[in-house]
Amino acid sequence: MSDERSLSYMMAFNEAVRQSMRADETIFCAGEDIGAFGGVFGTYGGLQKEFGARRVVDTPISEQAIVGLGVGSAVTGLRPIVDLMFMDFICVAMDQIVNQAAKLKYMFGGKATLPLTITTAGGAGLSAAAQHSQSLEAILCHIPGLKVVYPSNPYDMKGLMVSCIRDDNPTVMVKHKRLLGISGPVPEDLYTVPLGQANMLRPGKDVTVVAWGRMANESMVAAEILAGEGIDCEVIDPRTLQPFDTATVVESARKTNRVIVVHEAVRFGGLGAEIASQVQEEAFDFLDAPVARIGAPFSPVPFSPALEKHYVPDAKSIASGIRGVLGRKSPGR
């Protein structure tokens, strides 16, 4: 059965782009090193070979012009996929993303469509230090006009990427660097995972854990650990961060009465704050404890693995955070 075929997160991305490009001549890709070389993470591997340099374009190191290329070609009728190698580099192109791509339709009174997909790689865990490890999704989610997805597994990767490409709005697809190699079942056909729909990774009754990207997987490990302690976690992966599927999270909160949000970004001002705020707004009377948040400490990402391993939340720290929400102590703390 095709559904049982296993593919890596990276190749799921690649297949989403490849199959979409086969189906739609208006799609092209552009970015640094994505053509002949296939991208520094290999995510664009082989696409130029199949589609040629006309449709898979190596660009200069010019992030502003790369996004501008996307904006201008999208508004004139193409369906561009442009790559910003590392999520940190969105800062270099921020004007084109925030002031142009996100606002153009609105400023034009709605008389424009911008079917643009921006792809990038986020997250820490490679000792890549402060400028190559950030999780900046909260910034993007604060900007009206953008959509943001952050898949945690190969199945969602393919389906979300296809949805991003087909979406008539500027979308940002964040790949987590540390997930590129993980494998999982990915159907061969061209399917979509709809934007804006959370995924219930694990039903449970004691506490709701909201987490995306690599943190979704770490949270699942934490849930396993806690299952052994008799704690039944419900783990929700929002998958799309903007628009955010509040309904699913609130419904869960009303059931479990306890919620914790986990993300890799620094805690202060992270997306966890928005989610926590919404949950207490909409499920106030159901909450038995404050909505908790786990995120990185308030510092840039340190280079040394000796520090980075404590910096990034992991199954262990998530488990102890969840115990905290339940008013339990972690062993040895």
Partner: protein
């Protein structure tokens, strides 16, 4: 590429349309009838007109904060323009964009832009589409002298050359960026000196002379349409009014004498004199044209004034293109 009489009259008409629109907008602004910022194009009409006479609606342009002139030159209609400036729902942008974001995609005008230099990368994208589709169309990026100091311009220029896109970079060098003289912000005399650093031809043209602009643009656009890549055109020009609004109310930053010298070279009046000498334009015809266009402006103002403002519930419209849920 000597322009024929039809082209000359077309150039003239476009310039007068810009002038009248801008003068009217200036008056309305002084009467506090236009909300927001207003950057007038008066004095620079020959540039937009000279370039855009060479374009069709299928060609794309990007613009600047000083964008009305570009839209008029590209065929913009007074009614929706005036309505937009007055923040009405009948404006080109339904009142959501205003002067600084005025646009008309049907006319290939991809928007005025409030971020200096940000239009050029977008023009690169439009040029990419034209090349990708092989549709024979081109993109023109308009921008000021000051904008050439910003990174986005540089990246756009380089990328356009690297990808050999059908695009023309049209620099309106009016010697100032806001209230600061150009020679304070760059150590070169001619913007066109930047062209060689990207590997494209660069040409300087008298931006007060519509025919000179027309000829240079015709050549550059033909070059682009022929698949030979970008050109940088530097048009030396001048804005007659303040950076924004009409009169300068703050500290004086330009000597009156300088303004006067440039006003002597008014791109419309000098051109009209030439056209009359050449017998292309009679006094009667000229007067009739101004009268006709003045009436259009009056009509547009009435239209705009009579138009409704957008309603509160429109705030949340047009942020996203709604997608069918199942597809």
């Amino acid at each position: 590429m000597e322009p024929n009489p039809d082209v000359l009259r077309d150039l003239h008409r476009r310039m007068v349309r810009i002038r009248l629109f801008e003068e009217a907008a200036g008056k309305l602004a002084e009467a506090a009838k236009l909300p927001g910022f207003l950057h007038l194009y008066v004095g620079e009409e020959a540039v937009a007109a000279g370039v855009c006479v060479n374009l069709t609606d299928a060609d794309s342009i990007t613009s600047t904060h000083r964008g009305h002139g570009h839209l008029v030159a590209k065929g913009g209609q007074f009614r929706p323009m005036m309505a937009e400036l007055m923040a009405k729902s009948t404006g080109y942008c339904n009142g959501k964009g205003g002067s600084m974001h005025i646009s008309s995609l049907e006319l290939g005008m991809l928007g005025a832009n409030g971020i200096v230099g940000a239009g050029s990368p977008i023009a690169v994208g439009a040029a990419f589409t034209h090349k990708y589709r092989d549709d024979g169309n081109v993109a023109v990026a308009f921008f000021g002298d000051g904008a050439t100091n910003i990174g986005a311009f540089h990246e756009a220029a380089n990328m356009a050359c690297a990808l050999k896109l059908p695009i023309v970079f049209a620099c309106e060098n009016n010697e100032y960026g806001e209230f600061t003289r150009r020679d304070h912000t760059m150590a070169i005399t001619d913007i066109v000196d930047r062209a060689q650093g990207y590997g494209m031809p660069g040409v300087i043209v008298d931006g007060m002379d519509a025919v000179a602009v027309y000829e240079a643009a015709a050549e550059a656009i033909a070059f682009a349409r022929a698949g030979k890549g970008p050109t940088l055109i530097e048009a030396k020009t001048y804005r007659f009014y303040n950076h924004h609004g009409v009169q300068n109310l703050g500290l004086k930053y330009r000597p009156d004498s300088e303004v006067e010298v440039w006003k002597q070279r008014d791109p419309i009046f000098t051109f009209e004199a030439q056209l009359e000498d050449m017998g292309v334009l009679t006094v009667d015809r000229r007067e009739a044209l101004w009268a006709e266009l003045r009436a259009d402006i009056a009509d547009a103002i009435t239209f705009a004034e009579d138009s409704p403002y957008p309603e509160q519930d429109q705030i949340l419209e047009d942020v996203y293109t709604r997608m069918e849920v199942a597809r």
